[in-house]
């Protein structure tokens, strides 16, 4: 007995930049069991209706990372996204190529920007010459050392996070979630000799453009949680080098700011981030804000029990360890 089927209206993005002036959406309705992966639906369309439909895929088992695409606006692997829940929620499935990369044809994008960012972080072990690898045997790690990698070794480089990232969309200088999660993986590797250099160069290399919107963490099919590892990198970078960039100055400024009263002093925070010259560039915006919201200049009063806040700072600020 075959499974009961549902009607699955698909709207598939079709575009060949060589011949088409604009993309179009091909509408096809299939009858499929609800657990059918979107990839299977696409291959059925290609096999039975349109051999020209172009897409990347290989293993069909969420291992090779080839079939990442936009499915109803979410970055997903087509091979592990069943049609049923999408139809339940949206009544149709809109399938588009990954975002933030140029379309080569239909659902295939040019991943060069993604790989270029990956290369930039030097995604390979660079051993410390002072501590050469032991000869003739493996270089063992303790379970605690392995623990520090967290989920990052699971990455299959599918690019779903890169496609989901609004910082990549708005700014091509941002390395993207995958490259930064990889960087984290080498920064915590006890066999790598370049931890300090890696952290120093990423402070000016776009680390602070991460919006911590966590869209990458939701998109990742392997639960690598790039946004959380980027947060760890930010903390480690400050620890390694101090606050050298606007982003780290802002984070450290914020931390010091609320130490004073327990509550944020909004105007002071601007001064803690910007130099006097940079402040000057903000005068127009400042006046616009101040005319409607004069409270932005107010100095907050100390919270009740402020002494406890100060003691918490003393305990954790002055004896801070590496991020857990």
């Amino acid at each position: 007995m075959s499974d009961p089927t549902i009607s699955v209206p698909l709207e598939i993005y079709r575009f060949d930049p060589k011949t088409d002036s604009a993309p179009r959406y091909q509408r096809v309705t299939l009858d499929l069991p609800p657990h059918t992966p979107v990839l299977t639906a696409l291959l059925k369309v290609r096999q039975e209706q349109d051999p020209g439909l172009t897409l990347r895929y290989s293993c069909r088992s969420a291992i090779c990372g080839s079939c990442a695409m936009q499915i109803n606006n979410k970055s997903r692997l087509a091979c592990e996204t069943p049609v049923g829940p999408e139809i339940e929620r949206h009544g149709r499935i809109v399938i588009e190529p990954m975002r933030n990369q140029p379309v080569l044809r239909d659902l295939v994008v040019d991943q060069q920007p993604f790989w270029t960012q990956y290369e930039r972080i030097q995604p390979h072990l660079i051993p410390d010459p002072a501590h050469p690898m032991p000869e003739g045997r493996e270089n063992p790690m303790t379970p605690e050392q392995v623990e520090r990698f967290k989920e990052t070794p699971r990455c299959i480089a599918c690019g779903a996070c890169y496609s989901a990232c609004p910082a990549v969309e708005a700014d091509p200088t941002f390395p993207g979630p995958m490259a930064l999660a990889k960087l984290y993986r080498f920064v915590v590797d006890p066999r790598d000799g370049r931890t300090q250099d890696r952290l120093v160069s990423i402070q000016t290399g776009g680390l602070w453009l991460c919006l911590r919107c966590h869209l990458c963490t939701e998109a990742c099919p392997k639960d690598v949680r790039p946004s959380e590892r980027i947060r760890d990198l930010k903390e480690m970078a400050i620890h390694a080098q101090g606050a050298t960039e606007h982003g780290s100055k802002h984070a450290v400024g914020f931390l010091r700011n609320i130490r004073e009263t327990g509550t944020l002093n909004e105007f002071k925070l601007v001064r803690q981030t910007y130099s006097p010259g940079e402040m000057l560039g903000q005068v127009g915006q400042g006046i616009r804000m101040w005319r409607k919201k004069p409270e932005m200049m107010h100095k907050p009063k100390k919270v009740a029990g402020w002494e406890d806040v100060e003691k918490i700072y003393q305990a954790l600020e002055e004896t801070r360890e590496d991020p857990p």
Partner: protein, 295 residues
């Protein structure tokens, strides 16, 4: 109903209109706000970048204050909601719990982990409910097309926050419908407003904010509404810059969530501080006030 009111820094400062609207709405729905002058800032996700353990300790202290009073915490900011909930989750890790207890115990502060952190949106949708809200409406927002803008920290990471959905929520749109408005669904509604990097790279931040406003407008929105005062700063306060960056006028009125609720429930624009926005909300007000308040 009684909750520990955690206004957050912005509602006590430049975003005072949010606090005004929260108090008005709380009275209207019979929610008693208990205030605690000992609450500190949640760290706004910035302290979390500089020192994660300190961030958790500060919020554990906030959570302990509510726990001692036997009250759940009411937040009115997506970022406060995210940071306080994150602290609750991280304190489930035994090593972290021991570390934080080691700092707080000598101060006589104990946190057992029982404080529930709830955003006003959640309270309105689940506790008050759409049916009761519909009955309280005095000035239906009839026909006003509103683009809800959630704010990242209300939604993600979904497994840590226990939010309704990471990428496809609908609580806010349900609320808008109950108030008589027509919610607009657009991709940007669950995206970032650009605020986190407003100080890092203003033009990139403005491009991100501008994109979401344009997206809402292209889907027909006549106004936007947000449960997060930081998103409000980005979408309203910096809209001028966003318009310059995207190269076209935007003129999008942006409401704080409780302002729109208050408006529907019969508050005057003055009571809700609607004159304190940088982008005028008059076009949206004119649309709903075609219908004047219904007695």
């Amino acid at each position: 109903m009684k909750m520990a009111y955690y206004p957050g820094c912005v509602a006590q400062g430049s975003g005072k209109e949010l606090d005004m609207a929260v108090r008005w709405v709380a009275r209207a729905i019979g929610l008693e706000l208990v205030e605690f002058p000992a609450f500190t800032c949640c760290g706004s996700a910035f302290v979390d970048e500089a020192n994660q353990t300190l961030n958790i300790a500060l919020n554990a202290r906030n959570l302990a204050i509510a726990e001692k009073a036997g009250l759940d915490l009411l937040t009115v900011c997506s970022t406060c909601q995210g940071m306080l909930t994150l602290a609750n989750r991280r304190l489930e890790e035994p090593a972290m719990k021991a570390r934080i207890d080691g700092v707080l115990s000598p101060l006589g502060i104990q946190y057992r982990g029982s404080t529930k952190v709830r955003h006003l949106l959640d309270v309105l949708v689940k506790d008050v409910g759409a049916d009761r809200l519909r009955g309280l409406v005095r000035r239906p927002l009839s026909g006003l097309k509103v683009g809800a803008f959630y704010g990242c920290h209300l939604l993600r990471p979904q497994d840590e926050l226990g939010s309704e959905s990471a990428e496809e929520p609908h609580a806010f749109e349900d609320l808008l419908s109950a108030l008589g408005a027509s919610p607009v669904f657009y991709r940007g509604r669950v995206m970032c407003c650009g605020f986190p990097i407003q100080f890092v790279k203003p033009e990139t931040a403005s491009r991100i904010g501008g994109r979401q406003i344009l997206d809402a407008r292209n889907h027909g929105a006549e106004a936007m509404a947000t449960p997060c005062p930081l998103c409000h700063i980005s979408l309203d306060g910096f809209q001028h810059q966003a318009a310059k960056t995207v190269g076209q006028p935007l003129d999008m009125p942006v409401f704080h969530l409780p302002q729109l609720v208050g408006l529907a429930l019969g508050a005057t624009p003055e009571e809700l501080g609607l004159d304190r926005h940088l982008v005028s909300v008059q076009p949206a007000l004119a649309k709903v006030a075609g219908g004047s308040a219904r007695g």
